[in-house]
């Protein structure tokens, strides 16, 4: 069935390629990448290394860093994985603002020098890599899971489904966009000094589960955040929402949750009805 056509199916022919190459070369330019270097275990001092990296229209800061790592200095420490802004690994301070390296195109940054530093508010492990343990612990402290006596399905033969209208989903969906990249945590001024403050990411998750109508732990969720270093240490600086790459808007969730804490907002959440599904046999 399959026609016997030229196997070189991947990049057509070479001549064609070369012509294109030269065309691209003409709009290719070079940027200067300044990378923060420090290994706390081997001395306190830090410095910046400078690299010249060729870039194209679609080159991201992550691409540029990986080019530097692969061909100029293998020892740059950097954390990355998905390269499509969905894993949250590559947060760093790029030209002064916390951003995802894979989500920041070189062409979006006006300057010709790109400075990469580790995320502030996270302890530095090495170079651009920071320690997220505190951050994850803060998330965990919010009990980010559904509290509901029926959360675990016990009887595999009688499956139930919670009835949730698209509207119900919309109440919490935005907060569940969070990829735990920590950008908000590093932009927030309260986190800058308060180590026990959960930070915008964790508080947004507190709101996410609070607003989910499958969850019935409404009061205990409020109690978790209503502490000395809890939700009230947010002063609506809004920087979390400014830097969030996923549109989570943690500032919104936090303020809404506070409305419930001072009982200014009415809580009209009704627990979702759970309906049994009939199942046929194979």
């Amino acid at each position: 069935m399959i026609a016997l056509v030229n196997i070189k199916n991947s990049r057509t022919n070479l001549e064609h390629d070369q012509k294109k190459e030269s065309e691209i070369a003409s709009n290719r330019k070079v940027i200067h990448l300044r990378v923060y270097r420090k290994n706390p275990k081997q001395g306190k001092s830090s410095h910046f290394d400078k690299f010249e990296v060729p870039v194209q229209r679609w080159t991201t800061v992550l691409d540029a860093l990986l080019h530097a790592k692969g061909y100029l200095d293998n020892s740059i420490a950097i954390r990355y994985s998905c390269r499509m802004a969905s894993c949250g690994s590559c947060g760093m301070k790029i030209n002064g603002i916390p951003r995802l390296a894979c989500y920041t195109k070189v062409s979006e940054i006006d300057e010709n020098i790109i400075t990469c530093e580790p995320l502030p508010n996270f302890p530095i492990i090495r170079d651009l890599v920071t320690d997220f343990s505190d951050f994850f612990e803060h998330h965990r402290a919010m009990e980010p899971f559904i509290h509901n006596p029926n959360a675990d399905i016990v009887d595999k033969n009688s499956l139930t489904e919670f009835i949730q209208s698209p509207k119900d989903v919309e109440r919490y969906l935005q907060s569940s966009y969070c990829i735990k990249c920590g950008l908000c945590y590093s932009a927030c001024p309260s986190v800058g000094t308060d180590t026990k403050f959960p930070g915008p990411q964790a508080l947004a998750q507190a709101y996410r589960y609070f607003a989910d109508n499958r969850d019935d732990a409404t009061q205990s969720r409020l109690d978790i955040v209503d502490t000395k270093h809890g939700i009230w240490r947010c002063h609506f600086a809004g920087s979390c929402s400014v830097v969030c790459p996923k549109g989570v808007d943690p500032a919104l969730g936090i303020q809404l949750l506070r409305g419930h804490l001072v009982s200014f907002s009415k809580n009209d959440k009704k627990l979702a009805e759970s309906r049994t599904r009939s199942l046929g046999k194979i």
């Binding site: 309260s190 308060d194 209503d226 270093h229 001072v262």
Partner: protein
């Protein structure tokens, strides 16, 4: 230590803030030439001020202003200091310090009002 929930403290913070806004407004209006009919500097003369203090309504106003702003302001300070360092000694120290400072200031201000009332 004070057994208030943080949300209750913050409610007090907000309410005292807004209430303070009203009393301060009155306090300042009374000083304004449009209201008093005299130039600002004149309204500050000793006799005028003492007369003000001896007006009971005004003294009550002053006292509530003193209390409201002290509560609001020192709680604000407490918030800032709490965020500054986190360990038990510091945290308890901050609470005690701001409470004591608040009470001291209120007491000191109240003394002025009371004595001014007794001034001939």
């Amino acid at each position: 230590m004070l057994m208030l929930k943080e949300s209750q403290i913050m409610k007090i913070h907000y309410i005292s803030g807004v209430a303070a806004l009203f009393v301060v407004a009155v306090h300042i209006l009374i000083r304004l030439p449009v209201v008093t009919g005299m130039p600002f500097s004149m309204s500050l003369e000793y006799e005028n001020v003492v007369a003000n203090y001896q007006n009971i309504a005004y003294a009550v106003l002053l006292e509530s202003m003193l209390v409201l702003i002290a509560i609001h302001g020192f709680n604000g300070l407490r918030i800032i200091l709490l965020e500054f360092r986190q360990n038990i000694v510091w945290e308890n120290g901050v609470t005690v310090f701001t409470l004591v400072a608040m009470i001291a200031l209120i007491a000191y201000g109240t003394r002025t009002i009371l004595i001014a009332n007794g001034l001939g």
